[in-house]
Symmetry: C2
Subunit: 208 residues, 2 copies
């Protein structure tokens, strides 16, 4: 989306579209439901956005970059690695807590639409994985942490933050006996737990 002005109607449509697409997925979403939720009719949606595909693309890019955290500023800094990891884990869990359905939605749609790579045109500059790699290697050289593969460490960290939200329906049944507040408490605990779990695994300091 360009940085053009959006009138109130367009904004209402986009907001409703995002709600419905995220909840139902592209295939399950109905233009009629989006129109109803936006308080207008279908014809007006097609006036602003020519097709369902167009409308979807308009909301997906934003959802995608909501899911891909901006590691940039954090990892380019010169703080100790564990400080950066703690900041990432806390911020990322907080982010997903606010929009818990975004990760599953994004990943499902990416799998559905194989040629997304061209569409999304992910610019690796915006998502500086290389900064993360260097950051870990430096920490190893400084002997802040023991030798560890930066890619696996990154995937471990992200997995442990995101997966509970994607697997929530199963966790709710198998672990929390459908007690919704128990799940929320659990996620809150993870901000501390994940950092400690990683720290115990990779830091050179003796354990307490």
């Amino acid at each position: 989306m360009e940085l053009q002005e959006l009138n109130a109607t367009e904004q209402k449509i986009l907001s409703a579209a995002k709600d419905v697409f995220v909840e139902k997925g592209f295939d399950g979403a109905r233009m009629q439901e989006i129109a109803n939720k936006a308080g207008i009719n279908k014809a007006l949606m097609h006036y602003y956005f020519r097709s369902k595909d167009n409308l979807f693309n308009a909301i997906f890019k934003e959802a995608f970059y909501q899911f891909i955290p901006k590691l940039g500023e954090n990892f380019k800094s010169d703080k100790p690695l564990m400080v950066k990891i703690e900041q990432f884990v806390v911020d990322y869990i907080e982010l997903i807590k606010a929009k818990p359905h975004i990760p599953l939605f994004v990943l499902h749609e990416l799998t559905r639409n194989q040629d997304f790579e061209e569409k999304m045109l992910i610019d690796n500059d915006n998502i500086p994985v290389n900064d993360w790699m260097e950051s870990v290697i430096k920490a190893i050289e400084r002997e802040e942490i023991i030798p560890v593969d930066p890619k696996h460490l990154l995937v471990n960290m992200v997995s442990m933050c995101v997966f509970p939200f994607i697997g929530q329906p199963i966790l709710n049944v198998l672990i929390f006996n459908n007690d919704r507040s128990a799940f929320n408490d659990f996620v809150e605990e993870r901000k501390v737990h994940i950092v400690e779990f990683i720290r115990n695994s990779i830091t050179t300091k003796p354990k307490s």
Copy 2:
């Protein structure tokens, strides 16, 4: 599904249905495509399975229990916890490698269909989370591992095994530059890496 006899046609339909539903999801799947893939026509599908919903339910339960690993035999044993963890990680990654699209499919459909709990009638006996909990607590008492919340440890372990497959399209772009064999190597490495990562974090032995 009961353990009744299934004729060849039914099996062809079920097999085709599973392929299409898992690839496209319920909303994206078309009965016509399933019929084509099974080498029959739509009418015959409706003769055996009354509706799309019926056909879906027939394949979903199997997919679900393919995704939920049977921890039973493993965790009821009296082996050291790290031995059990290693066995779980290796077996589970091998399982998902064989059917890499099952996890995202199952989780997406569970989210789509809120009342699945009644439908699936998950019997907690088959999925003995309690055995895992006791197993961890025993290991803490024996001082094989340091004190750690069994629930978080379970979620950590499962997350690190499953998430790479769910997030594969993103990992492929951000980390592996679309080199598919690099992803496969990465997953293979994780069988060892995850176990070591957990061992370093929770065992009482000094690090090497």
